[in-house]
């Protein structure tokens, strides 16, 4: 599990430091998808800072799509900051946008596009065919 | 809450308990032999007409220890007031622990009433136990001395020490609350307690009930004589025929409030030279004149004068004990109420 450190003199606000440390850990692979972030109580018990600071940092990470809070259980990493995955995602997103435009030009309305996609997705093989 | 008041008080209580045990041991060790000596010699002395000798032996043997124990018993209530009462609140104020005690989930007044009840109650019990032990142990002596109303017995036996302890404790607490420091509170408590006790004993106790006045013939006086004072010769007479009573006043008076003045003596007893200075009552001294002039003078006095004794009879002893104890206890309660009020409104 990741441990946070606070640099009081860095000029960067405490919550920003936490956000940056999580992102850095993701990049370096120290944090992986599915890992749980320490609870707010655990964090403040180690570095004595206001719990709201931690909450704010976790909320921003959630807003960035990197973590998700599961009520009663904890906060978990749902997206890696791995550069290759990020690049692949960008590429896939662009392909999808092209496909959607093609579907529109073919005359499909929104509901038909969605139905076509969901149908194809559900019937696609679950694993990569090698 | 009671538990905590006791817990803070535990050590002080143990110290006094230890002292009481030591006293009890002393009494148990010496008591039976004292009783034995009494039973064998003094109890039968009237039959053998040697009471003087028997009581002298008794006094010789036990006087020192009796004085010691009586002194202890007189000062114990004051000590309880100083060591249990004065620090009770003063210590908390002095050391700052009141900032812990008064911010828990109980009101200040309840906290204080609990402490007063536990420690005040304990002081009354301690004084009562000591008094009970002393009363039992000193029984032979009290029978010999026949002076129950005297301070040596009245102030240390039976129930009055309980009242004194309650009052001394309350004085200590009040001083502690007012001075906020233990040492000045202790000093003030000693002084105030001593002053109150002296004042009460001298001025109030003799008048707790209207005293009885009695006229006694000089011929029935048991001790009488002349003494030389700076203003001349004086005649003094008294009687010890009223044992266990409290004599408030005893004067020799004649018709219309006249007294035996030095001028009267010069006029009516010219041949009475009088004793040398500092001679004790009843002795004429080495002067010409001799006993026949002494007796003649006394007879002359007896014709025109008599003793007027103001006293509290012996059978009022227990009434007085209850009155005095109640007054002291009520004074103690009033002081405690004052301290609680002070702590609630003013110590801030």
């Amino acid at each position: 599990m990741i441990e946070f450190r606070l640099n009081g003199n860095s000029g960067v606000s405490p919550y920003q430091q936490i956000v940056q440390q999580v992102k850095s850990a993701l990049r370096l692979g120290q944090l992986r998808i599915g890992d749980q972030l320490p609870t707010v109580k655990e964090v403040v018990g180690k570095i004595a800072i206001n719990p709201n600071t931690v909450l704010k940092a976790y909320r921003e990470l959630e807003h960035d799509g990197l973590v998700a809070a599961r009520p009663g259980i904890g906060t978990f990493v749902v997206n890696s900051f791995d550069e290759t995955t990020y690049a692949a995602q960008r590429m896939l997103r662009r392909s999808l946008e092209v496909w959607i435009e093609k579907a529109r030009r073919a005359g499909l309305d929104d509901e038909s596009i969605e139905a076509l996609f969901v149908d194809t997705f559900l019937f696609s093989p679950k694993e990569l065919v090698r | 809450m009671i538990w905590f008041a006791w817990r803070q008080f535990r050590l002080q209580a143990l110290v006094v308990a230890g002292v009481l045990v030591a006293v009890a041991v002393l009494f148990i060790v010496t008591g039976p032999s004292m009783l034995h000596l009494f039973d064998t010699s003094v109890a039968n002395c009237r039959a053998n007409s040697d009471c003087g000798a028997a009581t002298t032996i008794f006094h010789d043997k036990y006087d020192k220890i009796v004085q010691f124990m009586t002194t202890i018993s007189v000062i114990v209530p004051a000590l309880l007031g100083i060591f249990w009462g004065a620090p009770l609140i003063a210590r908390e104020l002095e050391s700052g622990t009141y900032r812990l005690a008064w911010t828990q989930g109980v009101m200040r007044s309840r906290w204080m009433v609990n402490k007063l009840a536990v420690v005040g109650g304990a002081s009354m019990i301690a004084a009562g136990l000591l008094s009970w032990m002393l009363t039992w142990w000193a029984t032979p002596l009290d029978i010999i001395n026949q002076n129950r109303f005297g301070s040596m017995v009245y102030d240390t036996h039976y129930i009055t020490p309980i009242g004194y302890a309650a009052f001394a404790f309350a004085l200590g607490v009040t001083a502690g609350v007012l001075f906020r420091h233990t040492l000045p509170a202790m000093a003030t408590t000693i002084v105030a307690f001593a002053a109150a006790r002296l004042a009460f004993t001298s001025y109030i106790r003799p008048h707790l009930m209207s005293p009885v006045m009695k006229n006694i013939s000089i011929k029935h006086a048991t001790n009488f004589g002349f003494s030389r004072t700076p203003s001349g010769l004086q005649f003094i007479a008294g009687t010890s025929s009223y044992p266990n009573s409290l004599v408030v006043k005893s004067v020799v008076m004649g018709r219309h409030g006249a007294t035996v003045t030095p001028q009267w003596l010069r006029l009516h007893c010219p041949k009475l030279i009088g004793p040398p200075p500092n001679a004790s009552i009843g002795k004429v001294g080495s002067a010409p004149g001799g006993p026949q002039y002494f007796n003649a003078c006394v007879n002359k006095i007896a014709q025109s004068f008599h003793i007027v004794m103001t006293y509290q009879p012996a059978n009022r002893f227990w009434t007085f004990q209850w009155y005095e104890t109640s007054i002291y206890v009520l004074a103690g309660v009033a002081l405690c109420a004052l301290s609680v009020w002070w702590v609630r409104r003013r110590v801030a």
Partner: protein
């Protein structure tokens, strides 16, 4: 209940000297409030007034919407740690916990025992033999085990070494994360307050100089640096806190809700410490002026 502490024109006088003067505050619940100011500024006095150990000379104060020390129940909802953490030296740690249980109806014995165990303290040890840090932890335990709605702490870490200080604040933050509790914590160390507080009250010269959410305070206070000039022509909405001038340069600390648009100023943001110092030095300047004109302090 929305107010943890509300004071209106609150004042406390000792003889002729006012330890606290015309204080008006409305501190909301759910915050960790840092009460900061120089020694003798009145922080201790304010906290003691809040907990009923002192009575006001003027004005009013309510805590959790009730008069301080008005009932046993109200006292039970406030945890107070006094300056230099008084404890009974002759009593054991266990006896102190028993006291807490006996005197507080909301006592959580399990929490108290667990805290003492976590600190590796022997309940039988006499409290007089504890170190400063351990005493502070005992006092904190006594305050939090009664499950209060409000914690008032008077310089609890002032006399502690850095490690003890960190441990104390960490435990405190755990409690804040765990329970719904408001905290008012006084200190003269801004660095500590910066870590743990989200609301600030600056007390200097016996008066409240500034108070508010730290985020909002930092967003509305700026340091302006520019060429030397007179500084009395700011718009009304801009409040000058502190200013200093060299031959060629003026530096001004201001409070302004709206952004400063004057291009002749270079605008910088402040740290919390800068902000506190600005108010404290302003108060000191005012105090000295008062002494000079009156020939004596009020």
């Amino acid at each position: 209940m929305t107010s943890a502490l509300q004071a209106t024109d609150l004042g406390k006088r000792y003889g002729r000297k006012w330890a606290l003067n015309s204080c008006t505050l409305d501190i909301p619940t759910g915050r960790v409030v840092g009460l900061v100011g120089p020694n003798g500024a009145g922080k201790s006095t304010l906290l003691q007034l809040a907990v009923g150990l002192l009575t006001p000379s003027s004005g009013t104060i309510t805590v959790l919407d009730e008069r301080p020390a008005s009932s046993a129940e109200q006292l039970g909802r406030i945890g107070y740690v006094a300056q230099d953490t008084p404890i009974y030296p002759g009593l054991s740690i266990g006896a102190h916990l028993h006291m807490g249980a006996a005197l507080n109806s909301n006592w959580d014995a399990q929490l108290a025992d667990r805290r003492i165990r976590d600190l590796a303290l022997d309940p039988r040890q006499h409290a007089g033999r504890l170190s400063g840090g351990q005493r502070a932890q005992l006092a904190l335990t006594l305050a939090i085990a009664k499950r209060p709605s409000l914690l008032l702490m008077d310089e609890p870490v002032a006399a502690l070494d850095p490690l003890a200080r960190r441990e104390f604040l960490a435990i405190l933050m755990e409690v804040v994360a765990d329970q719904e509790v408001s905290v008012i914590l006084s200190s003269h160390l801004v660095a500590d307050l910066e870590r743990v507080s989200d609301y600030l009250v600056v007390l200097a010269a016996s008066q409240v100089q500034v108070n508010g959410d730290i985020e909002e305070l930092l967003a509305t206070h700026h340091r302006l640096v520019g060429s030397r000039r007179e500084i009395d022509n700011f718009p009304d909405a801009v409040q000058v806190i502190e200013s200093s001038h060299t031959e060629r340069q003026s530096t001004v600390t201001v409070r302004s809700v709206d952004p400063i648009l004057d291009p002749t100023w270079s605008v910088e943001s402040l740290t919390l410490e800068d902000l506190v110092l600005a108010y404290m030095s302003q108060a000191e300047v005012q105090r000295r002026d008062l002494v000079r004109t009156n020939g004596g302090a009020r």
